[in-house]
């Protein structure tokens, strides 16, 4: 930002908004990491922790909403301030959704523990999860370092995730056809994969929002799609 506002309180409020978003980003990231760990290690305790921690993310989402409403009403922001504030509310809801999906993955990881699960299928979901984790980390780094090149790179990478997701779905179908006893577990894994893929979409949305925030322009290029 070029210089400080004449009204110091305005800057304080914007900093507070930034802090809430950063905290949400950090939480969403660790929620996803823990959910994947819970799945990998079959750890119920970790899964429970993910499910509990979701409350804090929801709370922050509401806090951001209230901060944004207050800023709009009191400061009538313009130009880059306006873009910062409006994108904050959308980034917050994206992060809230991401944490929700992580929670859902954690919940399903509990259910899968007692089921017959092909180890390779589990690995596949974990691999997709790590890819998405990297994407989320990059977009949050772009956010905190105001790095538009990084945000653009994230936007382009979503296609890779689509590819991995689609091949994983085909893989899971194969396991189910081979051995009907794995259907319950594979169905759960399928939902988890879908949730993780959605997290990637939200991370890409955040990248778009950041580009709009910094440039005032919207992405018109069609999002790169996976090959299938």
């Amino acid at each position: 930002m070029p210089a400080e506002h004449l009204v110091k309180r305005f800057d304080d409020e914007l900093e507070k908004l930034d802090a809430s978003i950063s905290e949400m980003g950090g939480l969403a990231e660790s929620q996803l990491a823990m959910a994947l760990a819970a799945l990998r290690e079959r750890n119920s305790e970790t899964a429970e922790r993910v499910m509990k921690a979701d409350n804090r993310v929801d709370e922050l989402d509401r806090a951001v909403q209230n901060q944004v409403i207050r800023l709009l009403a009191l400061r009538q922001p313009m130009a880059n301030d306006l873009r910062l504030i409006v994108t904050s509310i959308k980034i917050a809801s994206a992060l809230e959704r991401i944490a929700d999906y992580a929670k859902n993955v954690a919940k399903r990881s509990l259910q899968i523990q007692t089921l017959t699960t092909p180890p390779l299928a589990l690995n596949g979901v974990d691999r997709l999860g790590r890819l998405v984790q990297g994407l989320l980390k990059d977009v949050l780094d772009a956010l905190s370092s105001k790095d538009d090149a990084r945000a653009r790179a994230v936007w382009k990478r979503d296609a890779d995730i689509d590819d991995v997701y689609h091949s994983l779905v085909r893989e899971l179908l194969t396991y189910m056809m081979e051995d009907a006893r794995t259907i319950s577990a594979c169905t759960q894994l399928m939902f988890m994969a879908k949730n993780i893929e959605r997290i990637g979409d939200h991370a890409t949305n955040i990248a778009e929002l950041l580009l709009f925030r910094w440039t005032g322009e919207e992405v018109v290029e069609e999002r790169p799609r996976g090959t299938s």
Binding site: E4, H5, L6, M78, A79, G216, E218, V220, E221
Partner: protein, 271 residues
């Protein structure tokens, strides 16, 4: 290549795309007060039947520029103007131009409502009478009624047209001044902070009125309220230290200005 196709967000919903021909063209307009150069060469087109807002911090030259358009600066001692301003192609600083006629073409509304110390009727009838616009009493009555109607004041004053204009509330007085300005059918109306002496309700009524008036008139408004500029205008020009820094569609200026100085001013980083 790490690029993505992007385009500016367009939120222009209220600009009439059909009629964008410039009504007023100014080129290289400089204004001097004695030795001091107050405006450093302004090139600005005012589009027909649009509201153009002039914004900028105090002393930036926006009012000075506004006053050039109906030669109000002529009466300021030691004031000298260079450059060219043309309305529909007529150079308004040409020697053959009759300034009284010019001010009938280019009306003005001031910061503080300034009705004549006469009746409401006379306030509106005065202009058409001295310019010989009305043929008789009947026609004059009609002009008064139409003008007051257009200014959104008729219903409030129709039963007391013979009462003094100065007895109205501030907001009503300002609308009376607008009625007075439009009674001589001007082409351009200049408004110099028309709402700064009014309460929010009276301000809202004037803003509503400005929106209606732009169907028939070309309006240039100087305002200190950026929210007001954003609300009422289709184009916005930002002045700073005697320069026209940036002009563009209002939605663009307030969401995504191109110039650093514009951005800093409208976001409250200097002023």
């Amino acid at each position: 290549m790490n690029t993505i196709a992007m385009k500016p967000v367009s939120v222009t919903n209220d600009v009439m795309p059909s009629n964008r021909s410039p009504k007023v063209v100014s080129r290289g307009v400089k204004v001097f007060y004695g030795e001091k150069e107050a405006l450093h060469g302004v090139d600005l087109d005012i589009h027909e039947r649009e509201v153009t807002a002039l914004i900028g911090p105090s002393g930036c030259g926006k009012s000075t520029f506004l006053r050039c358009m109906n030669r109000m600066n002529d009466v300021v001692e030691g004031c000298r103007i260079e450059g060219k301003i043309a309305i529909d192609g007529d150079d308004i600083y040409d020697k053959r131009i009759d300034v009284v006629q010019l001010r009938a073409r280019v009306g003005m509304v001031f910061q503080k409502p300034n009705p004549f110390p006469k009746s409401i009727y006379e306030n509106v009838a005065y202009g058409p009478r001295i310019h010989g616009i009305a043929q008789g009493k009947e026609e004059l009555d009609e002009i008064v009624e139409t003008s007051l109607n257009r200014a959104g004041l008729w219903n409030e004053v129709k039963d007391r047209l013979d009462k003094p204009g100065t007895g109205l509330s501030g907001g009503q007085q300002q609308r009376l001044c607008i009625a007075r300005a439009i009674a001589v059918s001007p082409e351009v109306i200049l408004m110099d902070e028309p709402c700064s002496a009014l309460d929010p309700i009276a301000t809202a009524k004037i803003e509503e009125l400005i929106d209606e008036l732009r169907e028939n008139f070309t309006i240039v408004i100087v305002t200190h309220s950026m929210q007001q500029a954003a609300r009422v205008s289709q184009r916005t020009a930002f002045f700073h230290l005697g320069d026209l820094v940036e002009v563009g569609d209002t939605s663009q200026i307030f969401t995504n200005p191109k110039e650093e100085r514009t951005q800093a001013y409208i976001t409250g980083r200097f002023g």
